[in-house]
Amino acid sequence: MQQPVELPDRIEVGPVIDEGHSLASVSDKITGIVLKRKTTLGWIFGFLVSFAVLQNLMAAATWLFVKGVGVWGINIPVGWGFAIVNFVWWIGIGHAGTLISAILLLLNQSWRNAINRFAEAMTLFAVMCAGMFPVLHTGRPWLAYWLFPYPNTMDLWPQFRSPLLWDVFAVSTYFTISAVFWYVGLIPDLANLRDTSKKRWQQLVFGGLAMGWRGSARHWQRYEKASLLLAGLATPLVVSVHTVVSFDFAVSIVPGWHTTIFPPYFVAGAIYSGFAMVLSLMIPLRHFYGLQDVITMRHLNNMAKVTLATGLIVAYGYMMEAFFGYFSADTYEKFMIWNRMTGPYAMFYWTLILCNIITPQFLWFKRIRTNVFVLWCLSIVVNIGMWLERFVIVITSLHRDFLPSSWSMYWPTLWDWMTFTGTLGLFLTCIFLFVRVLPSITIFELRMLLPGARVKEPIAQ
């Protein structure tokens, strides 16, 4: 008879939550950040810088409203410039939040408990930034409500066969459901803040937002069910949103866009860039707020692994794009991929390959995954790489039109850059406000990770 093979224990990099914490200590630690911690100079400085950068958006949008979209670098044939590049980039960043909060909940990955609130907030803010671009790109943003089906005096209805309308429904649904999911998750923690705060106005604000939550078992039972249902609904939603975004490209007949690989490759790219962004934000957060005991090395290690895995899927996508171009035997497809690699934008393409395919390979090494500073630098490189990917997809496919007589180049103007950096400012401003006024870590889920939190500890096998 064969001897049963001894499997080695799973190698874990540290626990999900450091030892020595109790129910009271985790609650007080996280609520203390909101209620007790003095607003530090660092926070004020960071907030002011972000808020100043946000003013770029205001100035650029004002000038856009005065002059029209001609102030941007777009032209014919490149009608989709920075607006669409940034839209796709921001939407993608949001996807990691939903992945962490919904998909990892369904997969019972309890390590996500410490990071999901922050990641979800990041989703909301990223979608806000993303939504800005198509609205501004319409040229007459004050008429953006025309995108929605409503009875109007013109007797017109939107075209339901257009991916651009699908986008409207997908992105607005995504924002609504993310906001609802986020708020539902906040309710028990808001109750904790209400009960812990000493100031009257804080009690009123948090009490009002908590809606009188009292932690009743009958409530928890429905609450858990609703959370699970929302997670179950958000999971296909997040996949559908970037699929629909990729349809904006794939349903057209432009060489370089019209490929079936786009939906899965876009979704993987979205999660890739999203996890990179979570790392870029989470590493400074845990450092400045001293949260190393709840956002442990295990979290960073796991997130780095997801980044690597999705990065490999993205690499496969690039390979397939090149292969499709070659294998299609279509003059335009072949030219497009050749032009992308050797044409006027070749620099962007090869930088993108360097950032998105070569750099993440370092994540194979545990020493790099557990080196916080190097990991942070890598995550920034991946963010830049993913932005370049969107730039390459949008611009190189358009700038060489079918007829050489309509060929042109696209270069962003000052106003393009100001709009883009302005949304970065908006994003960071929101993040700064969020970590100051709300608990950036889900306290009640953190409690469930504590030893002794379960009635019966699972029997070790």
Partner: protein, 184 residues
């Protein structure tokens, strides 16, 4: 362990016992139910699935409402697309069918998720009776810890088996940290 039994002129909401650990609360809830009490509730700072069993909780109305919401969203989304494209604003493009089902799927899907998700959240909040700005349990000062680190069980005076002295004595047998009467 100390007991505060305050005499109130008005009838009370119930009697509340405080526990240190989740295990004690679940055990207390089980024994309270076995003792024949029905109108009681347990309060914990995080969900305890064992309580569902101990208190015999099985409310599936949130799931049902979500299903109905999802189906309405599905029918509504598809109906909207079909009505707009085929009735309100038909466009004949090279004789292609007006009701082009595959092209309506993305919007049907998004509407399904939107309505189902909103129904899940709203029905949960409404069935829980929230928002409720006032609730008697908050009259117990120590109840502020229910959202932090303590576990509570409250037997309500509306229970047919409730008796101010007997119930307090019964709660004593569960060995809580503290017992308090809850003002209405």
């Amino acid at each position: 362990m100390s007991t505060h039994v305050v005499e109130y002129l008005h009838p009370i909401y119930g009697i509340m016992a405080e526990f240190e650990t989740p295990g004690e609360l679940v055990e207390a809830a089980r024994r309270t139910r076995e003792a024949g009490y029905r109108k009681f509730d347990a309060y914990s700072p995080y969900p305890l699935h064992e309580l569902d069993e101990a208190m015999d909780l099985h409310d599936n109305r949130v799931s049902l409402a979500t299903l109905v919401g999802g189906l309405l969203g599905c029918a509504g989304g598809f109906g909207l697309a079909t009505w707009c494209a085929a009735v309100a604003f038909p466009l004949n493009i090279a004789g292609r069918p007006l009701i082009s089902v595959p092209m309506f799927i993305p919007i049907t899907f998004e509407c399904t998720i939107l309505l189902a998700g909103l129904t899940a959240a709203i029905s949960m909040i409404m069935m829980n009776g929230l928002p409720s700005p006032y609730h008697p349990v908050f009259n117990v000062e120590r109840f502020a810890n229910a959202s932090r680190n303590k576990f509570f069980l409250c037997i309500e005076s509306e229970d047919t088996k409730f008796d101010r002295e007997d119930t307090a004595r019964f709660l004593e047998t569960l060995q809580p940290e503290e017992i308090s009467e809850v003002a209405r």
